[in-house]
């Protein structure tokens, strides 16, 4: 064992442990504390003293207990076997822990993140000798039917490949290549380690021009996020943060999804574990679990490991990005992470800033969200990490520090609204408060899919919603009856948009996921109702008659009745709608001219 004695426990305050007699500890070094070998990390060094944050319950830990250093920073293991796995905040495999210690997580147990026994078929992509640079693909392992796990030269390892192993079965510990570098020979195994608090390098950042399609109409159409973008979803309890995160984990068109359950419910992780294997990825036809990695540090698990969990998650995401994949990271909830930071900081007796949070909260948030991005990888591929963080503001009040600071580092804001959630309008994304700064970036992509109409349709409906908000002020004072039909049409169209488009039932087999084409046609149908309907009203038609058109039943039900492939059916609804409105308009116009004649 490389462990060395680095000091003794001096004081224990919950997850924060002070040690003295420190000789050669390193900052951020991974350490083992006491006879139970509790895992911890050195977070402060001063003279012969040091502070450790411990990732396990410290009950029973006594002053005087020995602390051993591992010589390495807190790192994750990266290699075949990650996909489909569930880990705690410091990447301990939870299914393996359950095998070892039963249904409850006890302390002092450790198991390697990656299975040491399992053999993977490695196929080399190079022939030795040849020159490589860090990030180069040395070979591949077909990890799942659709996921090619690329074995990369670790960043920083450049030189001449003197040996590469032939196709065959290897464990993650086996050496598959040898590289002569300037600083000596490096053996490359099927797995590598990377410190979680340090972003993995890439060649350059690229502009974000493609949306990450989520299949959620309100998000894709009104407040899109670009691949490589960063989003925050704030909302009070029960407004639907987790449902949004899970809908994205299920349906977004990323290659890999890293879902971090950070200080939230155990049952929600169980829900993902039971649902995902049964759900089919619409793009690959395979189980969704085959592209998903779960980090579960639930609210009752140790708080220091919660702090580490988002770094563990994003480091795994970067590893897959470096293979050339588009990765989506969901962190539910970053507020619980921030609270862990606050708790640890408080126990270390640091000076608090706003609401007890440490002054470095904003810096840490920035560091996390900056790890999202569209990049060119070291091996020259375009790849991305899109980060979607949930925020749980106390009392649902967005003016609190975590929401406010996060807003500075993201460009899409999906505000969840209590009123909408109470009325069971789901997803309860507020169309007034939310925004996306990626609209211009992704307009080109959407334009190609929609005969160039996307931007106009989107602006059209947004202006209806804005006019509705203004009219509602009037209605609240005098009722809707006094408004002329042309204005009541605004209310009517907005209502239709809310019911038939914005609301999306996550539990409905058809409605749960709405494809790009379907979104476009649905939007067009509703905008047509408004614009053509407006013309008809100008030509004398009444709102009541518009409302009574037979086709409106189909418009109301289209989200449930038309599958994503049912383009023809949606097109026929659109044609019938146009025809019905025109007929109405003609009838009324004729009546009017009869009267005037």
């Amino acid at each position: 064992m490389r462990d060395r004695l680095i000091g003794h426990v001096r004081r224990v305050v919950g997850p924060v442990v002070e040690m003295d007699g420190v000789a050669d500890a390193q900052m951020l070094e991974l350490v083992y504390v006491g006879a139970d070998r509790l895992v911890g990390e050195v977070v402060r060094l001063y003279g012969e003293e040091a502070t450790i944050q411990v990732y396990e319950d410290t009950t029973g830990l006594r002053p005087g207990a020995a602390v051993y250093g591992s010589g390495e920073p807190l790192s994750v293991e990266l290699g075949p076997g990650l996909v489909g796995g569930i880990y705690d905040g410091v990447q301990r495999p939870l299914d393996e822990l359950r095998r070892l210690t039963g249904d409850f997580v006890t302390k002092g147990v450790d198991a390697p993140a990656l299975d040491r026994e399992k053999r993977w078929t490695f196929r080399p992509s190079l022939t030795a000798p040849c020159d490589v640079r860090g990030g180069a693909v040395l070979g591949v392992v077909q990890e799942t039917a659709f996921l090619e796990h690329r074995i990369l030269a670790p960043p920083g390892v450049s030189g001449r490949v003197t040996e590469i192993r032939p196709e065959g079965e290897y464990t993650v510990d086996d050496v598959v290549a040898t590289v002569e570098t300037a600083s000596g020979r490096q053996e490359i195994r099927l797995h590598q380690k990377w410190p979680v608090r340090q972003g993995r390098p890439y060649a350059e950042r690229l502009p974000q021009t493609m949306p990450l399609i989520t299949g959620q109409r309100v998000l894709d159409t009104l407040f899109p996020v670009a691949r490589g973008g960063a989003v925050v979803v704030p909302g009070g309890f029960g407004t639907g943060k987790t449902m949004v995160q899970q809908a994205l984990a299920k349906w977004c068109d990323a290659d890999i999804v890293v879902y971090i359950g950070c200080g939230e419910r155990g049952n929600e992780m169980t829900g993902v574990l039971t649902d995902f294997p049964k759900l089919v990825d619409p793009r690959t036809g395979r189980s969704l679990m085959e592209r998903t990695i779960l980090i579960a540090n639930t609210s009752n698990m140790p708080v220091a490991a919660r702090e580490a969990s988002i770094y563990t998650g994003i480091t795994i995401a970067e590893y897959f990005r470096d293979m050339g994949y588009d990765v989506a990271v969901m962190a539910d909830s970053t507020s619980r992470w921030a609270e862990a930071l606050r708790e640890l900081s408080g126990r270390m007796e640091e000076m608090p800033a706003e609401e007890g949070f440490p002054a470095y909260l904003a810096t840490r948030l920035a560091e996390f969200y900056e790890r999202a991005g569209m990049v060119r990888t070291l091996s020259g591929q375009e790849a991305s990490i899109t980060t979607i963080g949930a925020v749980s503001p106390p009392g649902g009040d967005f003016s609190e520090p975590v929401t406010q600071h996060t807003k500075r580092f993201i460009r899409t804001f999906w505000a969840l609204d209590r009123q909408l959630a109470n009325a069971r309008h789901y997803p309860a994304v507020s169309w007034m408060e939310s925004y996306s700064e990626y609209v211009d970036d992704v307009a080109g992509w959407w334009g190609e899919k929609t005969n160039g109409e996307w931007r106009e349709l989107r602006t059209g409906i947004m202006s209806v919603m804005q006019r509705e908000a203004r009219l509602e002020q009037v209605v609240k004072l005098v009722g809707a009856d006094v408004l002329p039909d042309s204005q009541r049409l605004v209310l009517e169209a907005a209502e239709l948009f809310k019911n038939a488009f914005l609301q999306q039932n996550a539990y409905d087999a058809i409605d749960a996921y709405c494809g790009v084409e379907k979104q476009y046609l649905m939007l067009k149908i509703i905008v047509t109702y408004y614009t053509r309907g407006g013309e008809a009203i100008r030509r004398g038609a009444t709102l009541a008659s518009l409302r009574k058109m037979k086709v409106m039943r189909d418009v109301m039900q289209m989200k449930f009745e038309c599958g994503n492939e049912d383009v023809a059916r949606l097109e026929s609804i659109l044609t019938r709608l146009e025809k019905s409105i025109d007929e109405l308009a003609n009838v009324f116009a004729r009546r009017r001219s009869d009267v005037t004649a």
Partner: protein, 473 residues
């Protein structure tokens, strides 16, 4: 252990024997500090004996070389620095777990107060251990409470944690006792138990609950832990944990379905705040410590089911909202952890509606998994969704009517107002001894909806309308 390396501070504390010391350095609120000790662990159980020989229990909150900070559950009144003895037990606080605890009443720390003998059984750490998320079994079994507002709109399932958010003077007691009396799984006769934790509640309130259990003939299946209002408040920190440790035994070792009633979590949180303030912790909101969320989670997350084990723990905590404010830290943080909430509304209560369960802010997050074909009925989800939507509209129209006057409302608006009346009077309202079947509840829902025209029922399918509308009308 190399104890010779310690630099022992010479304090007023002197050792009596290996684990016992006499003399304190400091007393402050429910907290004491001792010096000159060694080999004491974090979160360790402590016995504090005063000059008269009375023993109180405590726990270490902080340990360092030669010193420890201890919170005393039974308060520090009457303790002196000079002659208080402190014994470190080398283990965390534990509680007896066995079937013998059923039918018994304990104090807030798990000691019998009903005159009966000390129960015999395995001692278990009250803090429990976090459940491995891979070991959980997702809750999806419908519990019929016989209360329409719950069964129909905010369905409770086995293994769920569903709190009641109440206010002072609102009838949460009646509701909790009605749930306790009526809750059952239709067509199943599995062993069940009730574990009751009373925190900071008054004597007569505790008696009310105990009487309820007795009257329903269930007292032999109840274990009660009482930390009453006049007990030292820090004791409450242990009460829910002791209760849940016993519940875990009953559920996961003895295979029972356990209903855990925790009342009142607001009192519990006040004790947490008291300790934190004493220790000069940095407050977050309203003086509550930043770790209140994690602390509450360590209680609420002990509900659930485990795969391959027959029992379950269903929690119904009571949270009173100070000033009826749902954004107060205690209900707020609770709502972030529990799987929904049943909110009681003063306005309904004042209009004589029992149970006054608020239509919109109430929510059961696990409802969808427990209802539908084969569990309740195929139309349940759509019916509930339509009732919610309709009632939301009622609220809007009532607000409008209060501005423009009822005369100015459209005929449709008036239909909605009628629906609101019918919903509150016939669906929501029921007697405290009225135990409705789920079929009765659903029929009442359809009846309320029958006031509205078909075109308004967007969330109901044609087929459902054809099948059930008749029944309601």
């Amino acid at each position: 252990m190399s104890s010779q390396t310690y630099s022992l501070d010479v304090g007023p504390t002197s050792p009596l024997n290996d684990r016992e010391y006499v003399g304190l350095r400091e007393l402050s609120g429910p907290i004491l500090a001792v010096e000159g000790i060694h080999d004491v662990g974090y979160n360790e159980l402590v016995e504090v004996t005063d000059g008269q020989g009375r023993v109180r229990l405590g726990m270490t909150l902080e340990v360092s070389r030669g010193a420890a900070v201890v919170q005393v559950f039974e308060g520090t009144a009457g303790l002196r620095l000079s002659d208080t003895r402190v014994r470190f037990r080398g283990e965390p606080l534990s509680v007896t777990t066995s079937l013998e605890i059923l039918g018994r009443v304990f104090d807030g720390l798990g000691r019998p107060i009903d005159g009966g003998p000390e129960p015999v059984g395995e001692q278990r750490d009250v803090n429990g251990l976090p459940v491995n998320p891979t070991a959980r079994d997702f809750p999806r079994k419908f519990i019929q409470t016989g209360i329409s507002a719950i069964d129909g709109m905010n369905t409770l399932v086995r293994g769920q944690k569903l709190p009641i958010f109440s206010g002072s003077g609102l009838p949460h007691r009646l509701l909790v006792s009605q749930i306790t009396r009526q809750a059952k799984i239709v067509g199943e006769d599995a062993p069940f138990a009730v574990v009751f934790a009373g925190m900071g509640i008054k004597h007569d309130e505790a008696m009310f609950y105990l009487r309820t259990f007795e009257e329903s003939g269930a007292m032999q299946r109840v274990a009660a832990f009482l930390s009453l209002a006049d007990a030292p408040s820090v004791e409450r920190l242990i009460t829910p944990r002791a209760a849940l440790t016993v519940a875990e035994y009953l559920a996961f070792d003895a295979g029972m379905h356990v209903l855990v009633l925790l009342t009142d979590m607001t009192n519990y949180c006040e004790a947490v705040r008291e300790i934190s303030t004493q220790r000069q912790g940095i407050p977050s909101r309203k003086g509550y410590p930043g770790y209140l969320y994690s602390d509450l989670a360590s209680i609420y997350e002990r509900a659930g089911m485990l795969t391959g084990r027959p029992g379950s723990i269903t929690q119904v905590p009571v949270v009173t909202m100070p000033n009826d404010d749902i954004s107060h830290p205690v209900p707020d943080l609770s709502g972030y952890i529990t799987e929904g909430q049943i909110v009681l509304e003063r306005d309904l209560h004042q209009r004589g509606v029992y149970p006054p369960i608020a239509g919109l802010p109430s929510l059961s997050r696990l409802m969808k998994d427990g209802i539908g074909e084969g569990m309740t009925r195929a139309d349940h989800a759509h019916l509930a969704s339509q009732l919610f939507a309709g009632y939301a509209k009622v609220k809007e129209i009532r607000a409008l009517a209060s501005v423009i006057g009822e005369e100015e409302l459209t005929p449709l608006d008036n239909r909605y107002l009628q629906f609101g009346e019918a919903f509150e009077r016939e669906f929501l309202s029921q007697r405290i001894d009225e135990d409705r079947t789920i079929e009765q509840t659903l029929a009442l829902g359809w009846k309320a909806l029958s006031v509205l025209p078909r075109e308004e029922l967007h969330r109901i399918t044609e087929e459902e309308y054809r099948t059930y509308h008749e029944q309601g009308a």
